[in-house]
């Protein structure tokens, strides 16, 4: 794919562009520094980097657009030879959306909620199409089938909220295509979508780019997605292009230490080791100094790296790399080497869930008084899981599969409809948190997805960590301070964080505080709800290492919820696969990820993307999102690629146990 079409001319050309904002001290602080990049016709180029690396700013600058407060320091962007930043507003508006279209990250929010899909696309046609307006109706249908939406004629009549996230994204793509653009800018178009949906959207984009000969700029933090759709990749770091080359050059054997670190920090399905963490954090705008921006995090840095800024130099391979020591980069390995050690697990039960069913529907007083039966299907049903002391159970499934719901019920925040939660093989825990005894509360701690939400912005880190220490252990004075500092050391933050506020910490640091707060209670079981999904990959790897360290030291059990199958694989001893709140499969990690598995597990695994240009995902099931579980039969009946017949719709699937401890609920006899 790399050299499939030789570029003919550049559509977008970025020439020595620097963009910055005025800091509090009055100096201009650069966000982008000396970017030069050409996007050729029919080519798709990926922009990757951590959050804050300037990738989205660059993509928007390609449209001649700057966020408020930003301004061009030098350089310009040209689109088909027209300089964007010296264009008049009207001229820019005729280019934007028409010849140069943007597909934003969350297209659900970019569609007007009160306008039918057909009307929205017609609006785009009115602005950007030269065709007579009588043809618009037919053209809308054509566009919708182009983005492979089933039954376009009925989609036209619907409102945005009646579509799933993946369908909304397809509509956004159709709107972008309405002006028959020469170039398409995509800003994290699949972030926030389920794995299967993401894989389908990426295939669509790949085909569209090829069929229509458009140039594409694809902004993403996900190297797997980049590998699937891009010909060329530019790796951004601290507002600079650190490495630029063909997707193969960048992903197979990158010649820049940052790109190698980034690649090593991605958890891969094929890897048994934990991904390698990339320590430190990128410099703030204007804080890069006169040397290489990456110097403080680089394993092969020498004196010259902190005194002179390397150029983006052409390498023999054809890639361009901004590094003084390209000859030495191969010393940096591309994968982690830290094996998740076998821990001796005792036979003591830490947690057991018996016949757990959870429903969000509350029977109404009126319904009860007239004796109406509750006929709604519970959100979660039939969950039987036991967890041993020190064991880690991964819970995977798409959004809406009930993963977080189960965690809330274990924590006592959401009383179940029926069933029991038991800790340490004792009596069932009270279903409401208010009724639980202090030790019962202390033993189960929960860590939330987004540390911005889970840490009180008005409390210092010291106050946040003191809460469990005071509540469970009654600590005060010197003992409290000492224990707080000890906790901060355990999560590798250090005692000087004690007086800071959460807003003064980076995302990764905040999540460490949340981990420290959970471990302050000295729990037996920690519930982790997507705790790495709001973090950059490099930070995620460090978080996984930390969790592994802590469970070794304290013999803690985890229930680890994630939609990322590679992350779950890296940490879990056992994995449970959920679909629509029902268990499909549960077993030892190697068995679930192995040859024999439930059709749904196969669908999920097939959609996982690897940062490898030669990797092709296997898309077997449709990406239709279901909103409610079926009333009877197998929960996966409507999407299953291996459906055997009407038995799937009517009879609950039987339990099969291909190996000891590996349970699959499916009608297929020979799994």
């Amino acid at each position: 794919m790399t050299h499939s079409t030789m570029p003919t001319g550049s559509v977008i050309s970025v020439d020595n562009l620097s963009i910055g904002f005025r800091g509090k001290a009055g100096h201009m602080l650069p966000v982008l520094r000396n970017i030069s990049l050409d996007v050729h016709q029919g080519e798709s180029i990926g922009l990757v980097g951590e959050s804050g690396s300037g990738k989205s700013t660059l993509a928007l600058a390609m449209m001649g657009y700057l966020k408020t407060g930003l301004r061009v320091l030098n350089g310009d962007v040209s689109f088909e030879g027209q300089k964007m930043f010296s264009q008049r507003r009207a001229a820019l508006e005729s280019i934007r959306g028409g010849r140069l279209a943007l597909i934003p990250q969350n297209s659900g929010q970019s569609l007007t909620p009160t306008l039918r899909i057909g009307a929205q696309i017609q609006e785009a046609l009115k602005l950007h199409s030269a065709q007579p307006s009588e043809t618009f109706g037919a053209r809308v249908i054509e566009l919708l089938s182009q983005v492979r939406l089933p039954d376009p004629a009925s989609i036209v009549e619907r409102f945005p909220h009646e579509l799933s996230g993946g369908q909304q994204q397809r509509v956004a793509i159709a709107m972008a295509l309405a002006g028959e653009p020469e170039a398409l800018l995509l800003d994290e178009p699949t972030t926030g979508l389920d794995v299967t949906t993401q894989a389908h959207i990426l295939e669509l984009l790949r085909d569209l780019a090829r069929d229509m000969g458009m140039a594409m700029v694809y902004v993403s933090h996900d190297l797997g997605a980049i590998a699937r759709v891009c010909d060329r990749v530019a790796v951004m770091y601290a507002g600079e292009v650190a490495l630029e080359g063909s997707v193969r050059q960048v992903l197979r054997d990158p010649s820049h230490p940052y790109a190698r670190g980034l690649l090593a920090s991605i958890p891969k399905l094929s890897d048994i080791c934990l991904p390698r963490a990339l320590d430190g954090r990128p410099p703030a705008p204007g804080g890069a100094g006169q040397g290489c921006a990456f110097v403080s995090r680089c394993a092969i840095a020498s004196d010259v790296c902190s005194t002179s800024r390397p150029d983006l130099a052409l390498q023999p391979s054809g890639a361009r790399s901004r590094c003084h020591h390209v000859d030495k980069v191969h010393e940096i390995p591309l994968s982690g080497d830290r094996e998740v050690g076998k821990r001796a697990l005792s036979d003591e039960t830490s947690l057991s869930l018996k016949d757990l069913a959870i429903s969000y529907a509350r029977p109404s007083l009126w319904g009860k008084s007239v004796g109406r039966e509750d006929t709604s299907v519970p959100t979660v049903e039939g969950i039987n899981v036991a967890l041993r002391r020190g064991e880690t159970l991964g819970l995977v499934g798409e959004s809406g599969s009930g993963k977080s719901t189960i965690l809330k019920t274990i924590a006592g925040l959401l009383p179940p409809l029926s069933g029991e939660v038991t800790a340490h093989g004792g009596a069932p825990l009270p279903s409401k948190v208010e009724k639980r005894a202090s030790t019962e509360l202390r033993q189960i701690q929960m860590i939330f997805q987004n540390p911005d939400e889970s840490l009180n912005p008005r409390q210092t880190i010291g106050q946040i960590l003191a809460q469990p220490l005071i509540l469970y252990f009654g600590l005060s004075g010197q003992a409290l301070t000492e224990k707080t500092i000890l906790l901060l050391d355990q999560v590798r933050l250090g005692g000087h964080y004690i007086d800071r506020l959460p807003s003064q910490l980076s995302g990764g640091e905040k999540q460490r505080v949340a981990v420290a707060r959970a471990f302050a209670a000295e729990p037996d079981l920690v519930l982790c709800d997507e705790i790495t999904s709001a973090l950059d990959v490099s930070v995620q790897a460090a978080m996984l290492e930390l969790l592994d360290d802590l469970r070794r030291q304290k013999n803690t059990s985890y229930v680890f919820v994630s939609h990322d199958l590679a992350v779950v694989r890296a940490l879990s001893d056992r994995v449970a696969v959920l679909y629509q709140g029902r268990l499909c499969e549960i077993g030892p990690t190697h068995a679930v990820y192995g040859a024999k598995s439930h059709p749904y597990t196969e669908v999920l695994l097939g959609a996982v993307l690897e940062p490898d240009p030669d990797f092709t995902p296997e898309l077997s099931a449709s990406d239709v999102v279901e909103l409610a579980p079926p009333a009877m039969g197998c929960p996966f009946q409507r999407r299953c690629p291996k459906r055997i017949g009407s038995i799937c719709d009517t009879v609950a699937p039987p339990l099969r146990e291909p190996d000891y401890g590996h349970k699959i609920w499916c009608h297929i006899e020979e799994i």
């Binding site: 006592g412 925040l413 948190v433 639980r436 889970s454 009180n456 106050q463 509540l471 506020l501």
Partner: protein
């Protein structure tokens, strides 16, 4: 990453300082705060600077025009209008200055409690609040005042009670925003008591909204107090009060306009000052008052 510098959390005083600076750099804040502070200072020093005793009558100089002796003229009993205007805000500022914090405190606490409790109880109580708010305020207050009589000891609790009710709405709405966030869920999951959750998690996050609401309530309350005085249910004569002065002088407005104008300027400048300050405070604290004020 080894720490080289120690970090100190900004103290509460430092935070107040930055908020204060944030207020006075805005034109609305600078003008508003100047007006409010000028009024407060005047109210404090007025007894010592006024040229006459506010009860001193002069039968030979009734409704006199401005002169070198009486800069703003005299009223229908020959009392000095300047003196009475300068003294006329003291009672209003005292009563509302005590009633406002009381209103914010009780309304805020009840609102936070409803917001946290949620569910049916919350729904029922909010409908009662709605019913209360739908009645004209002057009627509600007159009922109490007619029953218990006028005087500071009745006016303060009456104003605090009725102006606490809209505060319930604000506090409840702000609490709802906070309760949904994960740090409150985390505190619940740890097993903290309701009181601890209110004190540690909710109050610090609702406080800013309540501050701004308090400033707004103050200006409403001033207006209400003056209206009551105007109707004869507030301050009893001969104590000077803007509302009362306007009521007394309005019959002679056509030939002695200063008698009405002077107390009007006094009252409106204070209310405008409070409103401008509240606006600047809301912006400094990052609260959009336009979205949060239902009444």
């Amino acid at each position: 990453m080894t720490p080289s510098t120690t970090f100190q959390r900004p103290s509460h005083i430092a935070r107040l300082g930055t908020v204060f600076v944030d207020i006075i750099v805005r034109p609305s804040g600078a003008i508003g705060l100047t007006l409010v502070i000028a009024h407060l200072v005047l109210a404090l020093i007025a007894p010592f600077v006024v040229p006459y005793d506010f009860t001193e009558m002069n039968a030979t100089l009734v409704m006199a025009p401005p002169s070198s002796l009486h800069w703003l003229g005299t009223d229908h009993l020959g009392r000095d209008t300047l003196t009475r205007t300068l003294m006329g805000g003291r009672e209003a500022i005292l009563v509302t200055g005590i009633a406002t914090p009381l209103a914010v405190m009780w309304g805020g606490l009840v609102g936070i409690f409803f917001g946290l409790a949620g569910g049916k109880l919350d729904e029922v109580l909010m409908r009662i609040v709605d019913a209360f708010l739908s009645l004209p305020w002057i009627l509600k207050m007159l009922v109490l005042i007619v029953t218990f009589g006028t005087g500071i000891e009745v006016l303060i609790p009456t104003l605090a009670f009725f102006y606490g009710i809209p505060v319930i709405r604000i506090a409840r709405a702000a609490t709802h925003d906070v309760v949904a966030r994960d740090f409150v869920q985390a505190a619940r999951a740890r097993g903290h008591s309701k009181m601890t959750i209110i004190r540690q998690e909710l109050l610090p996050n609702v406080r800013d909204a309540l501050l701004v609401e308090g400033a707004m309530r103050w200006s409403w309350m001033l207006l209400a107090f003056s209206s009551l005085s105007f109707l004869g249910f507030g301050v009893s004569p001969p104590t000077p009060d803007w509302g009362l002065m306007i009521a007394d002088a309005r019959g002679f407005m056509s030939f002695s306009p200063l008698g009405v104008l002077a107390p009007m300027v006094g009252l409106s400048s204070l209310i405008i000052g409070i409103n401008l300050t509240a606006d600047a405070l809301a912006k400094a604290l990052g609260i959009d008052r336009a979205q949060k004020a239902p009444v």
